[in-house]
C-alpha cells in the first residue's frame, strides 16, 4: 500500500515509481503462483467446488491493492487475487478459504473467492454480480456519517456485470451521494462465454460515466505501469473529494471462466492481439528494461513466493475441517431470537 506523493522531486518520483512497481510486481507474482497452485490442487481433487483464477488480470487488480490504504475499503471480485494480496490478505487466508479450513476467515461456510474480513474494510463478495457496489457505497456513506475522512472504496466488476441493474443503481447512488467510490471494470471481452457484443452496445464502457455524472478513466489492463498510473489517479481523485470514478480496463482473461472451463470460445484473434499479452510478462519486461530488477532477483522472489505457498498449503492441509456437530446452526446473532423449534431433534 502506497500513497501517491504528489509534489515529489523527479528523483523522488522515480524512486517512488520503482518501489511501486516492485511491490506491485511481487504481489502479481505471488498471485499468479498462488493461482497456479490452486489450479493444481483443483485438478488433484483437493478443492471442493469451483476455482476461479485471475490469470491476465493481475496488473489491473494489483494496481487497486497498492493504491489503497489499510483504512480504505476494498470489495474484490472473482479475478482479484493480486489486489487482495496487495490490500493485505495473506496467502494463509486465501488457502484456508479455498481448502475449507475451519480456522480460515470463512470457517468452511463459504469458499473460494467469497472471502473477506469486513471489519478490516475488506468485504466478502456474494456471487450475485453487481451486488457489492452499493455495499461499498454504504461503507463510504457510513464513514462520512461518522466523520471519518480520507477514505476511498474500490470495487470491481466484469464487462458482463455492467449489465446488471445492481450496477446501475449503485453507480447512480454513488454519484448522487458524491461518494469516494472507484469502480474498476475489467473488460476481459467475455462474460463467461458471451462476447462483448451480446452484453452491451455502447462504443466503450467508459461512455457510461457521463450518464452518471462521474469521471471516466480508460486503461490498458495488460500494462502494469498504465494500471498503476490510472488506477492510482482515480483513487487519488476520489480521495480528494472529486466523487465517484469509473475505470475501464481492456484485457483478456488468460484462463477459463473457472478451472472447469477450457475457454475454447475465446477468439484466437483476441489472444494474438495486444489484449492477449500476459501482464505478468509485460511487468517483468518493464522491470528489466528500466533496470529496476534483474532476472536473479526475480527468481529469488519467485522461489520465496513458492516456498510460502507450499508451506502454507502444507499447514492448511493439516488444519481441521469444520465439524458439523460443533457448528452453530443459526444464521442470526441474537441468541434469544433463534428459532427454538427443532425438527424431530435428529
Amino acid at each position: 500500500m502506497f500513497d501517491t506523493v504528489l509534489d515529489a522531486s523527479v528523483v523522488g518520483e522515480t524512486d517512488r515509481l520503482r518501489e511501486l512497481h516492485l511491490s506491485a510486481y511481487r504481489f502479481m507474482l505471488q498471485a499468479r503462483l498462488l493461482d497456479e497452485k490452486l489450479a493444481s490442487l483443483y485438478r488433484a481433487g483437493k478443492i471442493h467446488g469451483g476455482v476461479f483464477l485471475s490469470r491476465g488480470q493481475e496488473a489491473l487488480s494489483v494496481a487497486i491493492g497498492v493504491s489503497l490504504r489499510k483504512t480504505d475499503v476494498f470489495a474484490p471480485l472473482i479475478r482479484d487475487s493480486a489486489g487482495r494480496l496487495a490490500f493485505g490478505e495473506t496467502i494463509l487466508d486465501s488457502l484456508q478459504t479455498c481448502l475449507g479450513s475451519a480456522l480460515g476467515p470463512m470457517r468452511g461456510r463459504d469458499g473460494n473467492v467469497h472471502r473477506g474480513k469486513p471489519r478490516e474494510g475488506y468485504l466478502a463478495m456474494i456471487s450475485h454480480l453487481g451486488a457489492m457496489i452499493s455495499v461499498v457505497n454504504g461503507t463510504l456513506f457510513a464513514r462520512r456519517f461518522k466523520g471519518v475522512k480520507d477514505v476511498v472504496g474500490v470495487t470491481c466488476i466484469g464487462d458482463g456485470g455492467t449489465a446488471t441493474g445492481a450496477f446501475h443503481e449503485a453507480l447512480n447512488q454513488a454519484a448522487v451521494e458524491k461518494l469516494p467510490l472507484v469502480l474498476v471494470v475489467a473488460n476481459n471481452q467475455y462474460a463467461y462465454s458471451t462476447p462483448n457484443d451480446r452484453e452491451f452496445a455502447c462504443a466503450d464502457l467508459t461512455d457510461r460515466a457521463v450518464g452518471y455524472g462521474i469521471t471516466p478513466h480508460s486503461v490498458d489492463g495488460t500494462d502494469l505501469t498504465a494500471c498503476l498510473d490510472v488506477v492510482g489517479r482515480a483513487v487519488a481523485q476520489a480521495r480528494r473529494g472529486e466523487g465517484p470514478q469509473l475505470v475501464v480496463a481492456s484485457l483478456l482473461r488468460l484462463c477459463g471462466h473457472g478451472e472447469h472451463d477450457d475457454a475454447g470460445y475465446i477468439d484466437p484473434k483476441k489472444k494474438n492481439s495486444p489484449l492477449g499479452r500476459d501482464c505478468l510478462k509485460v511487468a517483468e519486461d518493464i522491470l528489466l528494461n528500466r533496470q529496476w530488477a534483474d532476472a536473479t532477483e526475480m527468481a529469488v522472489w519467485r522461489n520465496e513466493a513458492l516456498r510460502i505457498i507450499e508451506t502454507t498449503v502444507a499447514r492448511v492441509q493439516r488444519e481441521p475441517a469444520p465439524d458439523p456437530f460443533a457448528e452453530h446452526w443459526t444464521a442470526i446473532s441474537t441468541r434469544d431470537l433463534r428459532e427454538t423449534h427443532d425438527e424431530l431433534g435428529v
Binding site: A124, A131, V135, G138, A331, I332, T340
Partner: protein, 321 residues
C-alpha cells in the same frame, strides 16, 4: 390524547434516532416530505443529517444499508410499499441475511415494509410478504398488530443486531389508536394472548388479529370463548405460546392475510401437528387470502382476504365438531 399505529411508528423512529447516534433513515421521500405515509414526518427537521432521501433504487438502498451496518451503523430503510421490496429482494435475502453467518459481522438493519391490503389499493400496493422473508434464514420478521407493539417492536428492531423485516400494516396506520405509548413491552419473539378463551385458539398476526378479535366477540354471545393468540413476530415463531393455548382449547384455527400456499398458517399448523398432535381435539384449520393477486375493487378485495365473518364461520364449524 390518542396516538395512531402510524404515529407510533414515527415516534419509535424518533426515539431510536434520539437514543442512538448510529441510527439513520433512508428511503424514498422520507426526508423533507416525511414519507409517502408520513411515517417519518418532521424527523429530518428534528434530526438533521440523519434522514436521507433515496433514489428509486431498492436494490442499492438495501445494499447501502448493509454496507453501513458493516461499519456499525443501524440503518432503517423505508420501502415505499412492501410490494416494491421485491426490487431489493436480492440484497435482502442474499446480502443482508447471509452476512452474519458468513462473516461473523452482525447486520443490524431494519427494513420497514408498509404492507397488507387496504380497499382500492390493488395487486401492487397490498401485498403481504412476510412469508418470503421468513423462509430465508438470517432474517427476523416482525408483524405488530397493536399501536403499542408497533412502537416497542420497532424500537427493539433497531436495537437488534440482526436484519429485521418490520411489516407494518397499512390498514392499521390510521384505523388503530391507543391512549398512550407503552413504557413496557413483551419481549420480542414472544407471542401474546390477545384474548383469553377456552374453546378454540385462533392464531393470527398483524391486521388479522383484529378480525380474529371481532370474530371472537361475535361468537361470545353464542357461548363460545375464543382465545386469540397474536404471534407478533412470525420468525422466530413462538411455538410454545401457541402450543400452550392449544393445550387449553384443543382447537386451532390459524388466520393469515397472505396467500395460502406455504405461509405463516402452514408453518403454525405443521408445528402444532408435529409437536402437539395429542393436544388437538379436532383437525386444525387455516384461513388465508385467496390464491390470486389482490383485487382492486372493494367488493373483490373484501372477499379476497379473511374477514371476521369468515373467521366466525370457520370457527363455528370447528366448534360444532
Amino acid at each position: 390524547m390518542s396516538i395512531t399505529y402510524l404515529e407510533a411508528i414515527r415516534e419509535a423512529q424518533a426515539v431510536a434516532l434520539r437514543d442512538d447516534p448510529r441510527v439513520f433513515i433512508y428511503g424514498q421521500d422520507v426526508a423533507a416530505f416525511g414519507g409517502a405515509f408520513k411515517a417519518t414526518k418532521n424527523l429530518a427537521r428534528e434530526f438533521p443529517g440523519r434522514v436521507f432521501d433515496a433514489p428509486i433504487s431498492e436494490d442499492a438502498m438495501i445494499g447501502m444499508a448493509v454496507g453501513a451496518a458493516v461499519e456499525g451503523l443501524r440503518p432503517i430503510v423505508e420501502m415505499q410499499f412492501a410490494d416494491f421490496s421485491t426490487a431489493g429482494f436480492n440484497q435482502i435475502v442474499n446480502q443482508a441475511a447471509t452476512l452474519f453467518w458468513r462473516t461473523k459481522i452482525p447486520c443490524s438493519l431494519t427494513v420497514r415494509l408498509p404492507f397488507g391490503g387496504t380497499s382500492g389499493s390493488g395487486p401492487f400496493h397490498s401485498q403481504s410478504l412476510e412469508t418470503i422473508y421468513a423462509h430465508y434464514p438470517g432474517l427476523i420478521v416482525m408483524t405488530p398488530a397493536t399501536v403499542e407493539d408497533a412502537y416497542s417492536m420497532l424500537i427493539a428492531a433497531v436495537a437488534i443486531d440482526d436484519p429485521v423485516i418490520f411489516c407494518e400494516h397499512k390498514f392499521l396506520y390510521y384505523h388503530l389508536k391507543a391512549e398512550a405509548l407503552p413504557s413496557e413491552a413483551l419481549p420480542v419473539g414472544k407471542a401474546r394472548i390477545a384474548r383469553e378463551g377456552r374453546d378454540l385458539t385462533i392464531v393470527a398476526y398483524s391486521a388479522m388479529v383484529h378480525e380474529a378479535l371481532a370474530a371472537a366477540a361475535e361468537l361470545a354471545p353464542e357461548g363460545w370463548q375464543i382465545e386469540v393468540v397474536d404471534l407478533r413476530t412470525v420468525k422466530p415463531l413462538d411455538t410454545d405460546t401457541v402450543m400452550a393455548s392449544v393445550a387449553r382449547t384443543g382447537r386451532l384455527l390459524c388466520v393469515g392475510e397472505a396467500w395460502p400456499w406455504g405461509g405463516v398458517t402452514a408453518e403454525v399448523i405443521a408445528r402444532v401437528a408435529s409437536e402437539g398432535f395429542g393436544l388437538l381435539d379436532v383437525p386444525p384449520q387455516r384461513l388465508n387470502a385467496k390464491d390470486t393477486p389482490i383485487p382492486y375493487h372493494p367488493n373483490l378485495w373484501a372477499a379476497h382476504r379473511p374477514t371476521a365473518r369468515a373467521i366466525a364461520v370457520a370457527a363455528r364449524k370447528m366448534l360444532r365438531q
